[in-house]
Symmetry: C2
């Protein structure tokens, strides 16, 4: 099978965006939401803070009374106490704790450290002056009731989780995760549990894809292996596509005599593209069937993990959040070059200062070559010399 | 309650390392292992590659025969075919596919692109010369049977998963995850599902801690809230500690009149330290009870998430892998300073080029102030001026 003209890497994103189907949203418990993407904004259901909040352990009083030199304690208000009241008589104070609601009538808080206390009398220490509003975190000074605190499309981390809790969300809306299947191919491959014969290998590509997607927050629900017998296996391929929104295939997509996948896909799906000007992973292709998407990755181990990391994960992220993710750019540790017409994805190790050190891969036939690498650096085609001061897009194996 | 002399940040790690208890190991399925830490090395159970492997689709032949100009095809060997044989007669070739075992007697592979074919005859195109060993990936050239491919202590990503699969591991050994409990405190806090009264807030610290630990791969199994009634709640605290290896408490650890946690912990556990020269989070303390560890984080929201990110997560990682993790160092986007004697943890946003832009936090009383931040930068004490060329330790909210 001959590949059609290669699609430049710079055009693949737009092609993939053209087939994005946004999933419906579902509500999930807040304590299972971390790492997922918010499908709705979170809005404040009250002012933040909701009351004038005491910021120090100490005494709430009227600033102007401090000219009298001393205060008489009339009560205590801790966090969680209902609203206390400062009497109208001059020189009174209420003992307050951080987080408490400011007593009515008070306009300043004086920390313990500024005072000496004798019984119910407190005196301001030499050198401290009380200013109105000091150590008060005023109602609504952070945000107002109804303000959007976190936009939809945000990845849910501890800050977003805490904000959702503050606003009373026991559940949050996220995109329904896609049903994903992985299919590996190749008659030389035997299951992990078997002892391979001399000319056989164990299946490892499916495990690499499973791990890549699971770590990105998209655990696949199905994984199987297809033999190279196109006639009997095409039916299984079609069934898998019809029952999964995303099918990721590794192997059988090049131009070898046994590479039956593109032909079978052309039969049951629509080809978006096949063949990308990238190395490794040139025979990469994508097909669609209604709202189903099929990624066909070359079966070479390094091509497989590069394809899953560089294309499948960002596609799934964009499908979830509606925004194609922008990869971080980091600096290479040394000059890099790529005199070919293909975009090169070079395995790198992160070193001191978050620089990317290119790791020499002797061949792309075995995952062992990638030990101690952290991801890939994208080196544009026709790059005679790129200086270490030029940041390049970086795609980590583990996002 | 008065804090003892503050422990410098530079000494906290050694104190925490002194109480590390390494957990036993358990076997888990490979497809659930991603993100966890290998507790054993993975060794090769055969050479890599296990046979002389064909690297291109084309023809296997004897290099010295190429002087005859043409070859007669005598068979085909694809990946998964058993060992083929190249006849002894000069000028014979076997059609081979990438990944196939090299036929006995062949010493070079010629790619399709170098040849023209007529029936069973192939001819080398003008300008191509065949060299012995070309396009052969020799047995054992990547690694030998028995070699360690991945060390114990490695975090399991797609590469490690694929290597484990290649070596026949349906399960891998990892450290048994700790049983973790979260306890929040504070009478001003009501459950997320309730509508707070004017002077109340919803519990959000526990959610922030839960998310931080879950995203780091340590999902807590228990979360509850303690009131400020020391007498009735100390018993619940003790019961929680005895049934969880790690207890993370937020709030009640400072010197306010209601801060009963340190006293209760002193009663049932041994104080490792209480009070760290850090801002925010000065009243942070750690206690131990046998092999149990109790982290007491200040209840201020920013102090809580900083404590969980800067101390609890690295402790759990070190407990799992045996190695205290080294944080990445990244560059501040501008001059930073810290003229105090306390280490400062400044919330930052990651910007272009992976630089850390300090984000102004108006106060540490609400998580909403941390929206759009990615983590904290550690600024040493007594730093008059740190230039943007000086990398500083960075702790992301989401590792």
């Amino acid at each position: 099978m001959k590949l059609p003209p290669l699609v430049p890497v710079s055009e693949v994103r737009a092609l993939l965006e053209s087939i994005l189907v946004r999933p419906e949203t579902v509500s999930i418990p807040l304590d299972e939401a971390s790492g997922k993407t918010l499908a709705e904004p979170i809005t404040a259901d009250r002012d933040g803070p909701p009351y004038d909040r005491v910021m120090m352990d100490g005494y709430a009083l009227r600033a102007k009374d401090s000219k009298h030199g001393g205060f008489e304690l009339t009560g205590t208000s801790v966090a969680g106490s209902a609203l206390a009241k400062l009497g109208n008589e001059p020189g009174v104070a209420v003992e307050v704790m951080t987080g408490a609601i400011l007593p009515v009538g008070a306009d300043a808080v004086v920390p313990y450290e500024w005072t000496v206390r004798e019984g119910s009398r407190i005196k301001l220490l030499e050198g401290f002056a009380v200013e109105q509003d000091q150590f008060i975190h005023f109602q609504g000074s952070d945000y107002k009731d109804g303000d959007v605190l976190t936009e939809g499309g945000t990845s849910i981390g501890p800050v977003e989780t805490a904000i959702a809790a503050t606003c009373g969300h026991l559940t949050v809306k996220v995109s329904r995760p896609p049903k994903i299947a992985i299919l590996s191919t190749g008659d030389e491959l035997v299951p992990i549990s078997e002892t391979p014969k001399e000319h056989q290998l164990r299946q490892s590509n499916a495990s690499a894809i499973q791990s890549t997607l699971a770590l990105a927050g998209f655990p696949p629900e199905y994984s199987s292996h297809l033999t190279d017998e196109a006639k009997t296996e095409a039916e299984r391929l079609t069934a898998c596509i019809s029952s999964h929104e995303i099918t990721v295939i590794s192997g059988g997509v090049s131009k070898g005599t046994r590479d039956w996948i593109p032909g079978a896909l052309d039969h049951c799906a629509k080809r978006l593209f096949h063949g990308v000007a990238q190395s490794p992973g040139k025979p990469f292709g994508v097909w669609t069937a209604g709202d189903r998407t099929i990624f066909a990755l070359p079966g070479n181990p390094v091509s497989t993990i590069v394809g899953a990391t560089r294309w499948v994960v960002p596609f799934l992220q964009a499908r979830t959040s509606g925004i194609w993710p922008t990869p971080p750019k980091i600096l290479p540790s040394d000059n890099v070059e790529n005199r070919t017409e293909m975009t090169r994805f070079h395995p790198v190790r992160l070193i001191e200062g978050n620089k990317a050190e290119p790791v020499k891969i002797r061949n792309s036939g075995d995952f062992a070559n990638l030990v101690a690498t952290n991801g890939i650096l994208e080196i544009p085609p026709n790059s005679v010399k790129i200086e270490p001061s030029t940041p390049l897009p970086y795609f980590p194996w583990t996002p």
